[in-house]
């Protein structure tokens, strides 16, 4: 526009020699100014928006602070009220039981706040009931019902589930108590300041773990700690009383005793002297006095409290007397990925040891490599679809079995065409549609004359075992020039083989007629026949056999719905345990690498996770649809990560997290 103007105005230019301005110049200037104004306006808008956001934020903060202030004031008032009541009660008790109070009275005086009131005594129940009633009153005043408190505590626990870290064992007792009480606290959290005080108390426990000599009671801290413990004890009991109806808490009398014992050990001689009841009976008023003193510590203590709560959660609710849980599998498994790309049923599935990848072997003559880190974007959050990265083509019949070596660099497959093939696994980062690389298919191990149903790889020996329906088991060395090392003929048709993990000279083989034999690889002879003990041999076929990674135990999956455990060590190969595991024949087993859990899949379309110590079912997952009467062919654990996978006849594989 400028050019046009200047072109048009060139005649005018000489006419306007007087004025220093020119049309184009003016236009240009005006445009320039206009754009500048626009820019500034935009900047002001942005600034304005920012400031408005800041204002909103600060307003919100202020509101929060005011609420907090109101709550704290309310708490203080309630505490004072309770304190007054307790002091009255204590006076009554003091008249009855003089000596027992004297000890605590000393501690009283050493407290920070003035505790003019005395301690109570052996009459546990009275104080408990009083305290409980008090608390109930407070609750009613504020209008909280029990259910709300429960909900709150649950929510808090859920929120903290991910953040919690297991504390050191020495602190365990403290924390159990703390957490225990803090759980009660949580329920009353906003209602009364006891929550805060508890947190404060809990903090003290950290400061002074075991010591609680009466002589040291001069110290405010240690004194407080004792009382804190006692108070916590009391609170816990009160809480338990109030919550008796809610059986889910699972707090029973014995547990209270346990806690008391723990408190005893924490406190030392002072407690030993006093009776149980006295321990419990720490005067409420003293408690409250301490609370009042420490109501200010809310924030950090809340967090600590929550941590204790979480400890308690684990220690308490999940494993009452037993050992603390191992975090890794104590949760429910949920389906995460669905692998769809095969045209026919998937016969075997295995994880790659160092990656989030699986390989599946299918009756559509192919095997596919999948990378779980690259699922397809999906709107639904339930199950992500994954596409395969690579397809291994080479078998001319259904691929029936699959095994991966310990480094994850090569895999082995056995098929209906009676060949065992060795493949090198391409990197999981390759593009799905890369050029064909013929070197992926490494070797074809020819030897069997019938379908190869089962493979087992031993990392220690670097050898592969294959079992085929031509009644033979062959041992191969896949890397050497002449792979076949040995052939063993079996008595009956083998269905599944597995190297014994504890002793790689032995393998365990299961057959269609229900026999399970332990072979010695050196001699090629049966070293042990695993039977049920008194000569009964199970009649149904055995579909799968696995060996426990650390113990000399063999587990078998039977057509008659059982899973049986055999001991490898005894001379007779005794049956340790037998359980009905599914509603239909059990097809596949997998042991987790730590040897704690067993995964079993069955033609009834369900997968079950079993705890090997208790031999109980922890979880059941239904997946896969039936084709012809078969449903799930294979299940697998990831060797190092928390994944489990199942492969089914409906051409799908599912990965659970």
């Amino acid at each position: 526009m400028d050019n046009g103007d200047s072109g048009g105005n060139q005649q005018n230019k000489p006419a306007e020699t007087k004025s220093p301005y020119s049309m184009p110049g003016i236009l240009h200037f005006i445009q320039h100014e206009w754009s500048r104004f626009e820019m500034e306006r935009a900047q002001w808008d942005v600034e304005r928006a920012e400031l408005q956001a800041r204002i909103a934020f600060l307003q919100g903060e202020r509101k929060g602070q005011e609420n907090l202030k109101r709550d704290l004031i309310r708490r203080i008032k309630m505490l004072e009220f309770a304190l007054k009541q307790e002091s009255d009660r204590a006076k009554v008790h003091k008249l009855k039981f003089g000596t027992d109070i004297s000890m605590e009275q000393k501690h009283n005086e050493t407290n920070e706040e003035s505790k003019t009131n005395e301690m109570q005594t052996t009459n546990a129940h009275m104080s408990w009931r009083h305290g409980r009633q008090l608390l109930r009153q407070y609750l009613q005043e504020v209008g909280y019902s029990e259910t709300i408190l429960d909900v709150r505590s649950q929510r808090v626990r859920a929120l903290l589930g991910n953040n919690y870290e297991v504390p050191k064992p020495t602190e365990n007792d403290n924390q159990v108590v703390n957490g225990d009480l803090s759980d009660e606290e949580d329920d009353f959290d906003e209602v009364d300041g006891f929550g805060d005080a508890e947190m404060a108390l809990a903090e003290f426990d950290f400061l002074n773990p075991p010591d609680s000599e009466p002589d040291d009671m001069k110290l405010d801290w240690s004194v407080d700690q004792n009382k804190l413990n006692a108070m916590k004890e009391q609170f816990r009991q009160e809480k338990r009383q109030t919550k008796k109806k809610e059986l889910k808490r699972k707090w029973t009398r014995p547990i209270k005793k346990d806690l008391q014992n723990m408190l005893d050990t924490l406190r030392g001689s002072e407690l030993n002297r006093a009776t149980e009841d006295v321990d419990i009976h720490i005067p409420d008023e003293e408690l409250l006095g301490v609370f009042i003193g420490y109501t200010n510590f809310s924030c950090q203590n809340i967090i600590f409290n929550m941590l204790c709560l979480k400890t308690m959660d684990h220690d308490w609710f999940l494993t009452q007397d037993s050992t603390p849980t191992k975090e890794s599998y104590r949760k429910t498994w949920n389906p995460k990925y669905t692998l769809r790309s095969h045209f026919d049923g998937i016969r075997a599935i295995r994880f790659l040891p160092n990656e989030s990848s699986v390989i599946t072997a299918s009756e559509d003559h192919t095997m596919k490599l999948w990378n779980l880190n690259k699922p397809l974007p999906s709107k639904k959050t339930q199950a992500l679809d994954v596409e395969p990265i690579y397809s291994f083509r080479g078998h001319s019949g259904a691929v029936l079995s699959l095994e991966i070596d310990t480094e994850g660099s090569s895999c082995f497959s056995g098929g209906l065409d009676s060949t065992v093939r060795v493949w090198s696994i391409p990197s999981v980062e390759i593009d799905a549609y890369d050029t064909y690389d013929p070197s992926v298919s490494q070797k074809i191990l020819v030897g069997h004359t019938d379908a190869v149903w089962s493979l087992s790889y031993s990392g220690t020996r670097q050898q592969l075992l294959s079992a085929s329906s031509d009644c033979s088991v062959r041992l191969w060395n896949p890397t050497s020039a002449d792979p076949l090392v040995q052939t063993y003929t079996t008595d009956g048709t083998p269905t599944s083989v597995c190297f014994v993990h504890c002793d790689s000279n032995h393998v365990v083989v299961s057959h269609t007629d229900g026999k399970v034999n332990l072979y010695d690889l050196e001699t090629g002879q049966i070293s042990l026949v695993l039977t049920e003990g008194d000569g009964i041999i199970s009649s149904g076929s055995i579909n799968c056999v696995v060996s426990h990674p650390t113990m000399p135990v063999t587990m078998t999956a039977h057509d008659d719905k059982h899973i049986k455990f055999y001991d490898n060590t005894s001379d007779t190969g005794k049956l340790i345990h037998s359980m009905v595991a599914h509603l239909d024949s059990v097809t596949s087993l997998s042991v987790d690498p730590n040897g704690l859990y067993l995964l079993s899949g069955s033609h009834d379309s369900s997968i079950r996770l079993w705890n090997l110590d208790s031999k109980t079912c922890i979880q059941e997952l239904t997946s896969h649809r039936k084709k012809f009467d078969e449903s799930i062919y294979s299940v697998a654990f990831h060797p190092s990560a928390t994944y489990i996978a199942s492969a089914g006849a409906d051409a799908l594989a599912k990965v659970f997290v």
């Binding site: 095969h342 045209f343 003559h365 395969p388 397809s391 080479g394 799905a432 329906s469 012809f628 009467d629």
Partner: protein, 183 residues
């Protein structure tokens, strides 16, 4: 494999291929009529069964049972077809290398571009074959286009046509360039 239970209970035929089945015994159970099959994968089961009975009788294989949805029938046929085409692909893998056939052609006039990439790319023949088969597998199994195996969306029916077209090219390449494999 017909389980031993059938001896006692003639009606109870368990159609399974459990581990230990010999290759010749695979799928050796008595055929079921289509109406008896009550699984979601009934169509596939039926097609496979018909093929096993007589794989040369293409008429019977291709005839849909009465009352069967056309789209689903085509879909399942195509799945089975891709499955079996794998056999051809394996044979081609041995022979057809980027050296011998660097482009996907049938007759000399047309060069086929591989549609499995973001922009159609000129892949060597063996790559075209592999990519097409893989792409077909992904497409036919994808939840987006074929979420269910018993009902097909109308919009997805068009996809079947394009898959067929690409797959047919594999055949034509094999016919013209690797005649002995084709036979």
């Amino acid at each position: 494999m017909v389980s031993s239970g059938s001896a006692m209970d003639p009606e109870q035929v368990v159609r399974r291929n459990p581990p230990g089945t010999k290759a010749e015994d695979f799928y050796k159970w008595s055929p079921q009529s289509f109406d008896e099959m009550d699984s979601t994968l009934a169509v596939q089961q039926y097609i496979q069964q018909t093929i096993r009975q007589d794989f040369t009788d293409t008429e019977t294989i291709l005839t849909a049972p009465p009352g069967q949805d056309e789209g689903v029938w085509k879909y399942e046929q195509l799945r089975q077809f891709c499955l079996e085409l794998n056999g051809l692909a394996i044979k081609l893998q041995a022979e057809c290398t980027p050296m011998t056939c660097s482009q996907m052609t049938a007759t000399e006039q047309w060069i086929f571009l591989c549609a499995a990439h973001k922009t159609p790319k000129e892949c060597p023949a063996i790559d075209y074959t592999r990519h097409t088969l893989d792409g077909a597998a992904c497409l036919l199994n994808s939840n987006k286009y074929f979420p269910s195996r018993v009902s097909i969306k109308d919009s997805s029916v068009a996809k079947l046509g394009s898959v067929c077209r690409r797959v047919y090219r594999i055949f034509s390449h094999a016919y013209y360039h690797h005649r002995h494999i084709f036979d």
